[in-house]
Symmetry: C2
DNA sequence: TTCGTGATGTGTATCGGGTACACATTCGCG
DNA sequence: CGCGAATGTGTACCCGATACACATCACGAA
């Protein structure tokens, strides 16, 4: 699966990267997390112009595009075995870094493939916030989480890509228990509800939410309660892998509108 | 929008096509039609090896990928102003014509970009069967319709692409009145039902189907009936553009499971 | 120690869409 | 002219979705 890949230094990357990567084609990952009752997305800040962007990368000539997306995710988060969902491919001919004020490093004398027009394939992933150690890439000085509703203007069409990822995530909410990936192993019902409310962008009825989620029969209530809050202590829950797999076989519906 | 593009002859296409098209990147269209109560898909047959494939094409260096898809659709069907839905991008590194017994024409002496590994972007379209004049491309001798369940083995991973298109179409059935594009202007309720049954791959109750479809209030019943059948003459219906637009504004659901 | 606050835990009545189903009608054909 | 087969139409029921109320309890303030 994971082949040995050449390691290029920065100058080599710009000058001869096109010998190793597919030209004109890139990957962009929208990596979602959930923390403090807020949906977050992982962004990088460029050294050069201080602007923010989605974590992305390129595809080795003999690499599956999904492999490339997995590689990018691993490099930025340290995480493996994460489900990635391809959601759209963006192919505006104006997707060209030079047309958006991005330049190659001054040390690079030759023309660079990096400045060409790029078609980019978008993937999103759901990760457990606390497990992530954000790591900038070679072009970035920072890699950090942003509240989904406090995302700054991003380079190129990355804001549009993020929007489309969120739409796709919403659609997937009906077919996949997103809490399984976005929450820590033990969580409370209010936390799970807040997650759904954030993704859907609207309020849900507490009692009906609990009824519906529990009816799926894919999680178990623990004896423990979450103490420390200023109010009645809520129960902790945990996804039950066995129950979950059994339910998925029967074709589960998570439709919460 | 539609820019002037150079016209390449066959030899030029193979030998210098990479100067005009994005390398390693292609478009494949899954074009659906409906005729004789059967869902159909448009396929091409290669001159060279007589094998069948999806109509596809390449992307000019300054062309939007969707523009390319529209261009391919127009070239094969003669149709314009058709909605195209991008559904998935296929990026297996083994998508390389040489690895699947496809060769370049013998007249072409140089190596050809055409034989490289390709990532392909899949679109599907719904067209009115009777309006289409299937037209083969330069590499094909035939362009014709196939029943969706009688599709032969196709080149590369085109069967997989077709499968995925069908899945995507099924999902879209809930958000879009497919009959509007796939049926002639006047149609009967049984015809519309057969269309849904074919796409969903299962039987629907006649009375409930009619109730649900009419409840959408996007079509009108005409006075005419369709004569000639061996039984009671069914009414003809027509989609009403005004009603349709009004309904879409309110967020319509075509959920037929 | 007690009490107030505010969030959580649980149950019930109602509404509406979805499903199942039956009988009358009518066109073409033999 | 009557038969067969498909269409036109209406009703009862089921279940999930929604709306909603009251009891419980952890913390913190008095």
């Amino acid at each position: 699966m994971a082949k040995k890949r050449p390691i290029l230094n920065e100058r080599e990357f710009f000058e001869i990267g096109h010998n190793y990567f597919l030209p004109h084609l890139s990957i962009d990952n929208v990596i979602f997390g959930f923390h403090n009752n807020e949906l977050k997305v992982l962004l990088l800040q460029w050294k050069e112009n201080k602007r923010w962007c989605l974590p992305g990368g390129f595809i080795y000539k003999d690499e599956h595009i999904e492999e490339a997306a997995i590689r990018v995710l691993r490099l930025r988060t340290g995480l493996d075995n994460i489900y990635l969902q391809q959601f759209y491919t963006f192919g505006n001919p104006l997707r060209e870094r030079g047309k958006h004020g991005i330049t190659k490093p001054k040390e690079v004398k030759t023309d660079s493939w990096f400045m060409d027009r790029f078609v980019t394939i978008g993937y999103w992933a759901l990760v457990e916030f606390s497990k992530v150690v954000p790591k900038p890439d070679e072009f970035s000085e920072t890699c950090s989480w942003f509240d989904i509703d406090k995302v700054p203007p991003l380079i190129l069409d990355h804001n549009e890509i993020l929007e489309k990822a969120l739409l796709s995530l919403r659609l997937n909410l009906n077919d996949y228990p997103v809490g399984k990936d976005l929450l820590p192993p033990k969580f409370t019902m209010p936390e799970l509800q807040r997650l759904y409310e954030t993704i859907l962008g609207k309020q849900l009825d507490r009692r009906n939410f609990q009824k519906k989620i529990l009816a799926l029969d894919i999680m178990e209530r623990l004896e423990e309660r979450k103490l420390g809050g200023a109010h009645k202590a809520p129960f902790l829950y945990r996804f039950d892998q066995k129950k979950y797999e059994r339910a998925m076989k029967q074709g589960l519906k998570f439709g919460l509108q």
